[in-house]
Amino acid sequence: MNETTTYTTDLKSRLLSSFSQFEKELNGSISSPIHTLRKDALEQFDRLGFPTTKHEEWKYTDIKGLLKQDFDFAPTNNGVSTSVYDVQDLLIPDAEANILIFVNGIYQVGLSKIVSPSQDIIIKDFTEAYTTHASVIDSYFAKFAAYNTNAFVALNTAFAQKGSFIYVPNNKIVEKPVIIYHIADTSVGKPVSMPRNLLVTGKNSQASVVEVYLTKGEGTSFANTVTEIVIQENASLEHIKIQNEGSEAYNIGTTQVYQVRDSKFFSVTISLNGAIVRNDLNIVLDDQNCEANLYGLYMPTGKTHIDNHSLVDHAKPHSYSNELYKGILDGKSTGVFNGKIFVRQDAQKTNAFQSNRNILLSKEASMNTKPQLEIFADDVKCSHGATTGQLDNDMLFYLRSRGISLEKAKALLMHAFAADVVNQIKIEPVRHYIENAITSRLTE
């Protein structure tokens, strides 16, 4: 690297000092309720600082590599015209969907396409939504994602301005999924983005939302995301998060889910690549008869580090959660799975299941798994299990004895292993996209 990096102060100071510039960009909306929260979050971020491995929740995820990057932190819309971005070949093919495209955090209205009628679903850039749906945003924004304990959530909240706002009114079944692309264009520097998404599904409604993180170019980027999800009575939401960025991408995000009576949440998190990927998925089942399904697949290779933290908080009785995370780790990659299940004293008749399965393809890859069940109710059914192993030699031999090459045999077994998660994706073009990404990975 060149010598100009010597002037760089550390990332935290730079972020803190850019806040006043950020406020100027807000053009007077600094008297709004969310701005009070932003300022509060900034203080929290200042107080918390970036976590080190001494922090219990960051024990196995060292972000030093992120902190020493000389990011272009410019919370300005630098006026790049959208037509410059040729992103078509990055997108999921054949998807009949509502499409939102953000490049380096900035909403690209010209590239986006909303197809569902607005009486069924409101899909907007967060900034615009705050002028039209301020009351919805004010009732939910930062109410669930804890910015007083997680520095990245605090940071995101402080700079919350750009992202998606999705609101499904009561009784609406939205047929077409919403696909939100966050593309880091590294050809123009080392971009930082702080996507802030709010998804609210009204009573008896149904929707599917896909978040996709991609990189254009091979350079370094940083996305720090917070997605807050509220699922109201008897509503059902399918949420898919796909990370298929470049090897120098830092992607840290929290998905915070709040569920009430008879609601269903269905989540699939697929992490294929990055420098450091950290997913926090926190679900609060705050009423009876809620259902949460959490599926995850991570396939790090090279030096990629992927950390999945999940928390399922059973606060009330008669709810169900089921979690299955699977990992295929190659190269010198590292993985972390930390799955917490809380069953509160009140939450009798809870059913909570968790499973984490890993395959290590190389001797230098490693996986750190920690299930954490804290159960304070006595009439519950809970289980958890974790395994880490290699591909089964007897299976490989069987396949090879039929003429299938070692490479193809491995690919067949890995596809089969991943299928338990991938097949959970109901949106066909999205599932095919993942299947193809896995295939091209396995035949590299």
């Binding site: 299976m395 004895s401 070692l406 067949l412």
Partner: protein, 250 residues
């Protein structure tokens, strides 16, 4: 076609094959019998290329080629097929998908065009009849939750699909009721040509009523200690193996 000379193989430190000789020619059926633990499955595994076994001596030529040099998949492409004594279950891989990959890998190695979906299906349908296996079974995960008999039938079905030159059937008869045994045996017989050969490993004479061997060999303590015509199988059925053991130690 197959020439095994003085083959010796270990698992760990334990020698299991202790100088085994066998010649198989195109068109022939050989039966290998012998008490449990004598090394029959070891021989089958070594021929198919299982890496858990270490070959410490001897040679195996298949059409003049050194078989022991080849990987399991190369052997399969040369035309070796092992019907496993204990077929393994592979969750998440459908039999159909697996076989399509296998058939086309073998074809590719032989310089043939891959079968397209329609051709493959036609071939499947034809071969399914041969062993009376049904479509529903084949669309399930490979052997997962199959009964013992279904697994064995699936082995013979795979053999039919791959059309090997040398098929080694390791105790394909065990776990089959008499009807299934007849179906499987008839399937094997229908696949016989003057250009291929079959090695049937069994310890029951009963299978040999259906698949008539040209030669019967007794494998004992890692060697073939006796060979004879098909009548030898009847003699073994009647008298057991003790007389052979006595002959060997004499």
């Amino acid at each position: 076609m197959l020439s095994i000379k003085n083959l010796q193989a270990n698992i760990g430190d334990k020698q299991i094959l202790k100088g085994l000789n066998l010649e198989v020619k195109a068109g022939e059926v050989h039966a290998i019998m012998g008490p449990n633990g004598s090394g029959k499955s070891t021989l089958a595994s070594v021929l198919a290329g299982r890496e858990d076994y270490e070959v410490t001596g001897g040679e195996v030529l298949f059409y003049g080629k050194d078989l022991l040099e080849l990987s399991p998949e190369e052997r399969a492409r040369e035309g070796i097929f092992l019907a496993f004594q204990y077929p393994i279950e592979i969750p998440g891989v459908s039999t159909t998908n697996f076989l399509k990959t296998a058939v086309n890998e073998v074809r590719k190695a032989r310089g043939q065009e891959p079968l397209d979906a329609v051709q493959f299906l036609t071939r499947m349908k034809e071969k399914m009849k041969l062993v009376e296996i049904n479509q529903a079974l084949l669309s399930r995960s490979l052997n997962e939750g199959f009964s013992g008999g279904e697994k064995k039938r699936n082995e013979i079905f795979q053999m039919a699909m791959l059309e090997p030159k040398l098929a080694i059937l390791d105790e394909t008869d065990s776990g089959l009721d008499i009807d299934a045994l007849r179906i499987v045996a008839e399937g094997v017989n229908k696949l016989r040509t003057k250009d291929n050969a079959t090695v049937v490993v069994t310890h029951y004479q009963r299978l040999l009523d259906y698949i008539i061997p040209d030669f019967v060999h007794v494998l004992y303590q890692g060697r073939i200690v006796k060979s004879g015509p098909k009548e030898l199988a009847l003699e073994l059925e009647e008298k057991g193996y003790d007389w052979i053991k006595d002959e060997v130690s004499a």
